[in-house]
């Protein structure tokens, strides 16, 4: 790593750490932004780098969200009773230790369950090619949501309230912020490293020509499932944080929200530049800012604007911001100028 890059990464980490103190009023939006970066990065690993456009990654997000909430609650109370009270009942109080342990166990469980789901589902559906995969994942996402909405133990359609934070923590959102920040950094670092390994080349090869990769002796299904599992792991943890951040899990609107977060993660990756390391990060930032501006200034028309934005991005700007920059400055940012070059 050259000093320039080191300085850069250092600056970002410092900015991330200082964020809530500089913009205390935007803490929740910044938390969301870090999570969005995780969404876009993990989507891009499979969709952009490997060429498997999934509309179903939200499944892992939702699984993680429910898993984390269930663990947090289940460590202390009976989950069925808790959900039957529909998030109400002053009897369900968590003290600081219970709350912290809930996270300490809940987040890893969320990540692992999501990974497990990716492993099982992946071995089934990753054998499909192209748009059949996209449609199948779309179906998976919606089916998962509907099943969650029918499952009484986790609150069914009435939703589920994650463990209420104890009053000892006076700014629980700050806790969520740093968890999201840490997760985003971990995700970025992991994916940046992956792209420098043979694995990175392998998933790129699958994107470019899967038949060829197989013919060259690559066990493509195993590689594809691995990539999906890695994406799901981070996404599951992100779901765990997101559910707590929102403090209310609706099965269709929050957890398995294919029409919002499920599509947004794709859009962010495309907007920033599919198949690049920095694209999803930049895409997430631009998207979050744009979205917030729409909601503020286009009351009642913001969804129209969002729809138009989707069309414009997809139709007129498919190469994304990073892609456009590469086209404009091929010497500086050309296809070779990505992270992998440092790998020799």
């Amino acid at each position: 790593m050259n000093p320039q890059k080191m300085f850069l990464y250092g600056a970002i980490v410092l900015a991330g750490l200082a964020g809530p103190f500089i913009f205390p009023n935007n803490q929740v939006q910044m938390t969301e932004l870090w999570l969005f970066i995780v969404f876009a990065l993990t989507w891009d690993l499979v969709g952009g780098q490997m060429g498997y456009n999934s509309f179903g990654n939200v499944v892992f997000f939702g699984i993680g969200m429910y898993a984390c909430a269930v663990v947090q609650i289940g460590l202390v109370y009976d989950v069925g009773e808790y959900t039957a009270a529909k998030g109400g009942g002053t009897a369900f109080i968590f003290d600081l230790a219970q709350y912290i342990w809930g996270f300490a166990i809940g987040l890893p469980v969320a990540a692992m369950l999501a990974a497990l789901a990716a492993c099982v589902l992946g071995s089934l559906v990753l054998g499909m090619r192209g748009h059949y995969f996209a449609i199948c994942t779309l179906g998976l996402g919606i089916a998962a949501g509907e099943i969650a909405a029918g499952w009484d133990w986790i609150g069914a359609g009435s939703g589920m309230t994650p463990a209420p934070p104890p009053h000892d923590i006076d700014n629980v959102n700050r806790l969520f912020y740093y968890m999201a920040f840490a997760l985003a950094v971990a995700t970025f670092a992991t994916i940046a490293w992956l792209l420098r390994t043979r694995f990175g080349l392998a998933i790129n090869a699958i994107r470019d020509d899967e038949d060829k990769a197989e013919a060259m002796g690559m066990f493509t299904t195993r590689i594809k499932v691995t990539a999906w599992v890695i994406a799901a792991t981070f996404l599951g943890a992100a779901g765990g944080i997101y559910g707590n951040l929102k403090r209310f899990i609706d099965p269709l609107d929050t957890a398995f929200s294919g029409a919002t977060i499920g599509v947004w993660m794709v859009l962010m990756a495309i907007l920033g530049g599919k198949g690049t390391l920095w694209g999803p990060v930049i895409g997430a930032i631009v998207f979050q800012v744009t979205k917030e501006l729409f909601w503020t200034y286009l009351l009642g028309w913001q969804r129209v604007a969002l729809g138009v934005l989707i069309v414009v991005i997809v139709v007129f700007f498919p190469e994304g911001i990073v892609g456009r920059v590469r086209q404009m400055f091929p010497e500086r940012f050309g296809p070779r100028a990505d992270a992998r070059e440092g790998a020799e």
Partner: protein, 247 residues
């Protein structure tokens, strides 16, 4: 010479159409063997059957005496039996060096080896092979930006990078400038002689196949029509009738 690949009475049907009918042939270790035949005579079907693209209906296929007809594509490839494609296939979004790096043989390595960084040795070998096929100067270009002929050469280099025991080439010279064909023949011969790779080649260009192969099989209508030395095949009236056309 021991037989490296033995195809024994394989048949393949698609719907009602018989693509291969009880074909038997042998490719000895270290040899260059040709496969010719009119369009639709079942050459590519035979190739696909050997490398595992579709199950065969009857017969057996053995590689190093091991039955491979039930194996899947990557498993067969990892035994050291590789093929190239008629419509050239390369990884268009990667540059030439990367194309070769990812083609490096991992036959004896575990899955977790995928999670290691690339070593300098792999890169050295990749550059050597690019030099060998004459693409060294293009090594940092995206493979998708190469011309068709260059992509063919790259695909060949990728195959070599994988250090196969046997390489099956599907029309290696189709769409290549005639002058370059000579170069390609030379490289194929050198690959055979220097790297010890057994070659099995489908080819339409008679000049190429006559120069290259030691032994030629000729298919027609899914059946084995003739086999023999190039000179014999060229003079075989059945082959001339079915393939070269009398004029």
């Amino acid at each position: 010479m021991t037989a490296l690949l033995e195809v024994d009475g394989t048949s393949k049907r698609f719907g009602g159409v018989v693509a291969n009918d009880a074909i038997s042939l042998t490719v000895p270790e270290g040899a260059i063997v040709g496969l010719i035949g009119p369009n639709g005579s079942g050459k590519t079907t035979l190739f696909n059957s050997i490398v595992g693209y579709h199950p065969i209906d009857a017969g057996s296929i053995r590689f190093r005496s091991r039955e491979i007809s039930a194996l899947r594509v990557p498993q067969i490839a990892r035994l050291g039996l590789l093929r190239t494609f008629q419509q050239t296939r390369i990884y268009g979004g990667l540059n030439c060096v990367q194309n070769l790096l990812i083609s490096r043989s991992t036959r004896r390595e575990p899955f977790r080896q995928l999670f290691t960084l690339q070593g300098a040795r792999g890169r050295e070998r990749a550059e050597e092979l690019l030099e060998f096929v004459g693409l060294y100067e293009k090594r940092n270009l995206l493979a998708g930006d190469l011309s068709f002929g260059q992509q063919k050469l790259l695909e060949f280099a990728m195959a070599l990078m994988s250090e196969p025991d046997m390489l099956m080439l599907d029309e290696p010279t189709a769409g290549i400038n005639p002058t370059l064909i000579n170069g390609l023949i030379d490289r194929l011969k050198r690959a055979n002689a220097e790297f010890g790779i057994t070659l099995f080649v489908i080819e339409h260009n008679m000049r190429v196949i006559m120069n290259l192969a030691e032994h030629i099989y000729c298919l027609a209508h899914g059946e084995l029509l003739a086999e023999g030395k190039p000179a014999d095949i060229q003079g075989d009236p059945r082959v001339i009738d079915a393939y070269l056309g009398a004029h």
